[in-house]
Subunit: 186 residues, 2 copies
């Protein structure tokens, strides 16, 4: 495992990211909270004051081919940019029908038919992204996707998630919560 | 997660599978034990008497295409056959160089150049197999591979692992232990 490969998102009353809006798009919602804290570390963390804790790990790429990986590496920006005062945490779980598909069919649906990688790359470097995997852990969600962007790119982010949600791939999403966050500078 | 998706292999003094032979092929060995117990359950189990406990989860296929998946489903036999009195537990960890490769290159090395799936299918249904994943868990090994076969197929199993170890894919294996087991009917 890489150093700092584990993430815990703690939802509670306090934390650096203030919750601006929550949409429960499919499946069970998450208990309402005022703030989110993201902790990347070697271990998962707990906080008795948190209403929820979501766990994930950074892992290898599951679908990217060499050309896409090279292209994304060129375009994408890192997390923690000074003007990245907006963020989104989008936990997602896909159906058993998705996970039972062979690798070639998941790849075809994800990219050749849904253009997931291509859509995401259109919004680089403005929308920075980090994917955490939870499925093998038996975590609450298969994926925790974290996005950071500037206030000026809030509309672009809406376009990005809107485009993804209209794809064939999204037919396989059975739980999705969308938390929009704002960096609390107090 | 599927029911009973987690496995714990407990190495210790007692257990249904007697250790016949252990080969530490690459990387650190495992402490010597006399027997192995395999526990598939909803949770990982612990045993204070065990010398080691290896954890893994059943997960989705990472490389199989539709044709291969269909073909394997037709050919393969389940675990627990009455004449499956021999088994092998082969824990494996691959290098960071492997995990950093994009999906298409890992697939090419695994199948188009190393014929991993094709080699395994040649030994079906004689050699039954179940793969558990440990990497996302931060477990001791990336994979725990479990094989069951009849005493008459011990030589075939040697041929199978011998063929795999001569492949390009195996250049990326940085730790491998091979435990040969025999069902203890006492």
């Amino acid at each position: 495992m890489k150093a700092f490969s584990r993430v815990t998102f703690l939802g509670g009353a306090t934390g650096p990211w203030r919750v601006e809006k929550v949409s429960s798009l499919r499946g069970a919602p998450l208990p309402a909270v005022g703030a989110v804290q993201k902790v990347e570390a070697d271990t998962f963390v707990t906080d008795p004051a948190a209403a929820w804790a979501l766990q994930g790990v950074r892992s290898n790429e599951r679908y990217l081919n060499r050309g896409e990986k090279t292209q994304l590496a060129k375009l994408q920006a890192g997390l923690g940019r000074p003007d990245s005062t907006r963020a989104a945490l989008i936990p997602i779980t896909k159906s058993n029908a998705w996970w039972d598909l062979p690798q070639d069919e998941r790849r075809s649906i994800l990219e050749e038919r849904s253009h997931h990688i291509e859509i995401g790359s259109r919004f680089l470097p403005a929308i920075a992204r980090r994917l955490f995997h939870g499925r093998d852990l038996g975590a609450d969600f298969d994926f925790l996707t974290w996005f950071e962007f500037a206030e000026a790119d809030v509309g672009a982010f809406d376009d990005l998630v809107g485009a993804l949600r209209r794809t064939e791939e999204w037919h396989y999403v059975e739980r999705e919560v969308d938390l929009r966050l704002s960096l609390d500078r107090r």
